[in-house]
């Protein structure tokens, strides 16, 4: 089952911020981790990844730095800023609330009048 385009599009920002919350990562790492996590059902295209990272950087939610690599040229890493952490908290609360609402609805715990 593939995610609908709109839902996938809406999930990219929370996904990237969540991934960066566990430590700095570079572009390929982010795309590759999402593919593994989603069992290849969710693909974040590079054409969207880098503009998204740059936008987050301009918004002050992430910061970038270059780090030398043993195999080839330097890599550009991204990590969360304080604002990024706060923003992720907010996003997490929203998604949790959404998740709990759907859970209640689909488990039959809510009766609609």
């Amino acid at each position: 089952m593939n995610l609908s385009r709109k839902l996938a599009g809406a999930s990219f920002k929370p996904l990237v911020l969540s991934l960066l919350s566990s430590g700095p990562k570079y572009g390929f790492q982010i795309v590759h981790t999402i593919q593994i996590l989603s069992e290849e059902r969710l693909h974040l295209p590079n054409s969207k990844l880098y503009p998204l990272l740059h936008l987050l950087e301009q918004d002050g939610l992430v910061e970038a730095f270059w780090k030398p690599s043993e195999s080839g040229p330097d890599r550009k890493y991204y990590r969360l800023t304080e604002s990024g952490v706060k923003s992720l908290d907010g996003i997490r609360a929203e998604w949790n609330w959404m998740y709990s609402m759907f859970t209640q609805l689909w488990n039959g715990e809510v009766s609609v009048a």
């Binding site: 572009g27 390929f28 054409s47 880098y50 195999s71 890599r75």
Partner: protein, 880 residues
């Protein structure tokens, strides 16, 4: 052996991205590292380096997608990195480069550029002229400072079962407003009088606008020289700058005298006190001489309190803040007084027509004191440049797409070497902008040097063209430039930039739909060309009215002397009637072809407005006007004055009389009995015959002496009469004309209009045929091989050339089929509506116009047909 080199492959991949300006170096470094990481990951899974690169670059996605996403952030990034000015510099340098390419392209394709520039220049020149004209025409009388408070008093009246609006006003209205209506600051009576103006020994036909002295305070007609209040003198007059030059030439008119006579009856001696400055804008009122109304009152012994009489108009200036509806309510109180005094013209209500914001459909108000813009006229005027512009734009599109064949390789190479579609579009649009700019410059010259002076001469409005003071003008010009560039350039640019470079360079390109579009555009062009040619031909043939309908009499032996006073008639007749070269002399107050008045005729309770001419005894026989029934006004019958009328055939027809003699009708409260019917005389060379009636006058009302010569040599008669007049009235100017030249002014106006339309239609045809020529030149290269092969296979060269060009003949025929019925029925309806002559032009006009277009089109493509006939298969097919 595998030659794959990862570094070379990555460099090639990166080079594609580097050509896009949205990707910065840091972005590219980051993306390259991503690609390398993915290649590394895939090779670790056991894939070959080459396969890993192919898969990684494929998964990376297309450069277009990435470009589109990065573009969303582009300006924001530039802003945050403070690189906006650098980007703008780059863009300007690219624009400069496009301009350079555009100029080179224009210079390289000389014929095509000439065709495009010529057509666009003419069309844009038409646009400029029409804009300048409409700006003046629609802004008529906006320059009066008190315009918001100036109103023309008008009235509604029910005539023949319908509510009509009229601009003339009762004579006594102005004094009544002055005395009884508060809130009105000034009231001005305006009356037009036509007659003759005597300046020294020279006589001019002309008119004077008699106005109350406050006129120059109410309206804004600044005085250029002389007394600022010329109308405050009982005999004071003011001339417009143009009239000062016309009547006095280089002499300063201030202090000079001018005598005005109205139909030989009343005389007003005036002294010029001022010359007015040229008007700051177009005006619906076009006087040459202003004189005080009291001078007219005394010359004509006018009873100013008479509600039964009329003046041409009454203008009021309200006090600031006064509600016009209040003034109208006060005017309503005067309706009863007017209607009691004028049984024949019962007014329904008065209304006010503001100078700056005219009444709705003000152009429909009969006898409105000042002309108001007519939307049909505006529409017709706008149609001309739009049609020309459409022709030129179609030409451009056709030729630009036709030229694609020559530029295919350029486009293919540009695309393969990294040129993106947007760049190609920008390049073609800038090329088009260069072309349009050059055309606009030439258009400015054409309109300034030729068209605007021609317009000025054709129309009576003074064109006020001061582009340096008019920002709107430059906005409109810029709008026309951009609009034309976009409309003409968009389709070719989109089309050309969409071509697939692989197919182009393989030589297997297909140009789907190209021919269909070209044909539709060309057929549209010829439809427009036919429209203009047909209208031009109708005008030319329709203008041959004199040959078609005749005068109703022979004008050649007739000379008409205009009298300064009726008392001159008797001595003149006595002096000349025994002269061998004079066969008959008659008096007249009105004269066929000269002037007549309008009269309302009532019969069986039905009103009809017809023409009326007051003539003396023997008028019909002197003029040679055929009597169809009954008799004329001969002295032998006597007693015709005030009781008898002679009508024309059209009058009898209008009232449905089979036997008009003895019939009666009422006009101006007088009953007339018809004693004769004459053949329809031509009253106006363009207008249809109208119903008229003649009534009898005595000699003491004569304004004209109609002299019939004994031969057709009216020039000799005129010269002889001049000698006798000078002996009889030494020092009094001799004012006479030959009857055969009475319509010369009308004929000249019609001829001017026909000339202008002929010019336009010729231009339209030239532009269309240039488009055809351009298209044929573009297509010929592609046809060479086809024709050569046909020749090798034994085809007749002439038949082949004909076959290639037959499609143009089909397109011309399509244009003719569309335009001919529309033009015919449209013109018939228009001319019928406007009251002009009915069209009687036969199929000759249609056949003629078709042959003209076909012949010119044939000449345009003859060169190409000849080239195709003479093409040598040995040369053309050598490379195959």
């Amino acid at each position: 052996m595998n030659n794959f080199n990862l570094e070379t492959a990555i460099a090639t991949w990166r080079a594609i991205y580097e050509r896009r300006r949205v990707f910065g170096k840091v972005d590219l470094d980051e993306m390259e590292r991503h690609l390398r990481d993915q290649v590394g990951y895939l090779t670790d899974t056991g894939m070959s380096t080459e396969d890993a690169f192919r898969k990684a670059s494929s998964e990376f996605g297309s450069v277009f997608e990435a470009e589109s996403e990065f573009r969303k952030l582009f300006w924001r990034k530039l802003w945050s990195e403070r690189k906006i000015s650098g980007e703008m510099r780059w863009r300007m340098s690219m624009l400069g480069r496009y301009l350079q390419i555009g100029s080179r392209s224009l210079a390289k394709q000389k014929v095509v550029s000439f065709i495009n520039i010529f057509g666009l220049s003419v069309a844009l020149a038409c646009c400029i002229c029409v804009y300048v004209f409409l700006d003046s025409y629609l802004g008529m009388d906006r320059f009066h400072e008190n315009g918001e408070q100036i109103y023309l008093v008008s009235h509604n009246v029910v005539r023949e079962g319908e509510m009509q609006r009229w601009g003339r006003t009762p004579l006594a209205l102005a004094p009544s407003i002055q005395d009884q209506i508060p809130g009105v600051e000034e009231v001005v009576r305006v009356d037009w009088e036509s007659g003759r103006l005597f300046v020294g020994e020279t006589v001019f036909d002309g008119s004077i606008q008699f106005v109350d002295p406050a006129y120059l305070d109410v309206m804004t007609f600044p005085v250029r020289s002389g007394d600022p209040n010329p109308l405050s003198y009982p005999d004071g007059a003011a001339l417009t700058a143009a009239a000062a030059e016309k009547y006095f030439g280089d002499v300063n008119p201030v202090g000079q005298t001018l005598t005005f006579t109205m139909a030989g009856q009343n005389r007003v001696d005036l002294t010029i006190h001022s010359v007015l400055a040229p008007l700051p804008g177009a005006s619906g009122t076009r006087f040459e001489v202003l004189a005080p109304y009291p001078a007219l009152v005394s010359a004509r012994s006018i009873d100013e309190g008479n509600w039964g009489g009329w003046v041409s108009g009454t203008i009021i200036l309200t006090q600031p803040g006064v509600d016009p509806t209040f003034v109208v309510s006060q005017l309503d109180a005067l309706v009863g007084i007017q209607n009691a005094a004028n049984e024949d013209w019962k007014i329904d209500s008065f209304f006010l027509d503001n100078l700056r914001n005219p009444a709705e459909k003000a152009y429909n108000i009969s006898n409105r004191l000042m002309e108001a813009p007519h939307p049909i006229f505006v529409f017709m005027l706008i149609l001309i440049p739009l049609a020309m512009l459409a022709l030129s734009v179609f030409n451009y599109i056709n030729i630009a797409i036709g030229a694609t064949e020559r530029r295919l390789k350029e486009i293919g190479i540009r695309k393969v070497s990294g040129g993106v579609r947007a760049q190609l579009i920008a390049q073609f649009m800038v090329e088009n902008l260069v072309l349009c700019s050059v055309s606009l410059f030439i258009a400015g010259l054409i309109s300034w040097l030729f068209l605007l002076p021609m317009f000025d001469e054709l129309f009576v409005y003074a064109l006020t063209w001061a582009p340096t003071y008019e920002p709107t003008f430059w906005f409109v010009i810029l709008g026309i430039l951009l609009g034309t560039s976009i409309i003409s350039g968009a389709y070719p640019a989109l089309y050309i930039s969409s071509l697939d470079p692989v197919n182009i360079l393989k030589g297997s390109h297909a140009l789907p739909g190209k021919r269909l579009f070209s044909h539709v555009f060309l057929a549209t062009q010829f439809t427009i060309a036919f429209f203009s040619i047909l209208i031009g031909m109708f005008m030319a043939f329709g203008g041959d009215f004199q040959a078609r309908d005749g005068w109703g009499y022979d004008p050649d032996p007739i000379v008409v002397v205009q009298l300064e006073s009726a008392a001159q008639f008797g001595p003149l007749r006595d002096t000349i009637q025994d002269n061998a070269s004079v066969s008959q002399v008659s008096a007249a107050f009105h004269h066929v072809g000269g002037n007549n008045s309008r009269a309302t005729v009532t019969m069986n309770g039905k009103d009809e407005v017809v023409g009326r001419l007051r003539v003396g005894s023997d008028y019909f026989s002197t003029l040679g006007l055929n009597l169809l029934q009954g008799r004329g006004f001969e002295d032998a019958y006597g007693g015709d004055v005030g009781v008898s009328a002679v009508v024309n055939a059209s009058f009898a027809e209008r009232f449905g009389w089979d036997d008009p003699i003895g019939q009666g009708f009422i006009s101006d409260s007088t009953s007339y009995q018809v004693v004769g019917v004459v053949e329809n005389p031509m009253l106006h060379p363009i207008m249809r015959y109208r119903p008229i009636f003649f009534t009898r006058i005595e000699e003491d009302n004569a304004a004209y002496a109609i002299v019939r010569g004994s031969s057709d040599d009216s020039e000799a008669l005129l010269s002889q009469l001049r000698g006798e007049w000078e002996d009889l009235y030494p020092g009094v100017p001799f004012d006479a004309f030959r009857q055969s030249g009475v319509f010369d002014i009308h004929v000249q106006s019609w001829s001017n209009l026909t000339d202008a339309l002929t010019w336009l239609s010729t231009l339209a045809l030239i532009i269309s045929c240039m488009g055809l020529f351009g298209l044929a030149s573009q297509g010929i290269a592609a046809r060479m091989k086809e024709v050569s092969i046909r020749k090798v296979l034994g085809a007749n060269p002439a038949a082949v050339a004909l076959r290639v060009h037959i499609r143009y003949l089909v397109l011309i025929s399509v244009g003719a089929a569309i335009s001919m019925p529309v033009v015919y029925f449209g013109l018939v309806a228009l001319i019928d509506f406007a009251g002009l002559y009915h069209i009687t032009v036969g199929p000759g006009v249609f056949i003629g116009s078709y042959l003209i277009v076909a012949a010119v089109a044939f000449i345009s493509i003859a060169k190409h047909a000849w080239l195709l006939m003479k093409v040598s298969p040995a040369v053309t097919l050598r490379g195959e």
